[in-house]
Symmetry: C2
Subunit: 153 residues, 2 copies
Amino acid sequence: MMRDDSGCRDLENFLHAQIPITREMGVAVEESSQTRLVLTAPLELNHNHLGTAFGGSLSAIATLAGYGLLWNLLDDPGLHIVIRESSMRYLRPVKGEIRAICAAPEESAISSFRVALADRGKARISLRVTVEEEGEICMDFTGEYVALGEGRK
Amino acid sequence: MMRDDSGCRDLENFLHAQIPITREMGVAVEESSQTRLVLTAPLELNHNHLGTAFGGSLSAIATLAGYGLLWNLLDDPGLHIVIRESSMRYLRPVKGEIRAICAAPEESAISSFRVALADRGKARISLRVTVEEEGEICMDFTGEYVALGEGRK
């Protein structure tokens, strides 16, 4: 648990201020580093008509987890980061707290991404996020994110 | 505009009561039939750090639009409907109201789906949802939904 880390609080405050629906969803940052980002949200605010987590909330939190990890990796507020495409498989229902985990990709992928961004002012990276409960993967998400340097927006 | 249709109000009330985050997102039902479903949500509640629509909100609304169309097509509260997988491409930013449109698939796909559901108590259907603004597709979503008959949950 890195919940008391100021990086978690900073990211959580940023999300709640800049992306207001994250506040209504009760999104919290449990862990935040350049290697791993963990977001949580309570079921009470994010359930569906069946009493399990709403697929749209899972998708939104997974999308955010990818953004968060990429912000941590790049640590440059001048960059413009967007999601270009994503795909996800819903493997089993989430019955309690939503917990989305984005682990950094391999170092070689990060290096290629940084080189492309430096050379061309634009780069694309694929990030995987899993939503897990009791050691099982409930939702498996892959997102393609694009970073654009200043002036390339 | 079919906004005054009682089917729209019924679906909107159902969404807000059963999937509470839809209320916080300001999701409204603009059109609701067995051939087409249109959901909207205001940018003010769903913007991101760039002032355009948050990808997670777009994904959530598209997911809902597919659910809504399938509920309309099947019109059977005893069925259990879930999303199994989805993929989406973000083509251009949404700068104003979010508007997600799900048109019913071809009649042959609906017939196959109904036959499988009747024969096996379980069936899968692919639904496409587009988020459009000023005549342009901003996000293109495809979701695979599964319906399970009573007793097959």
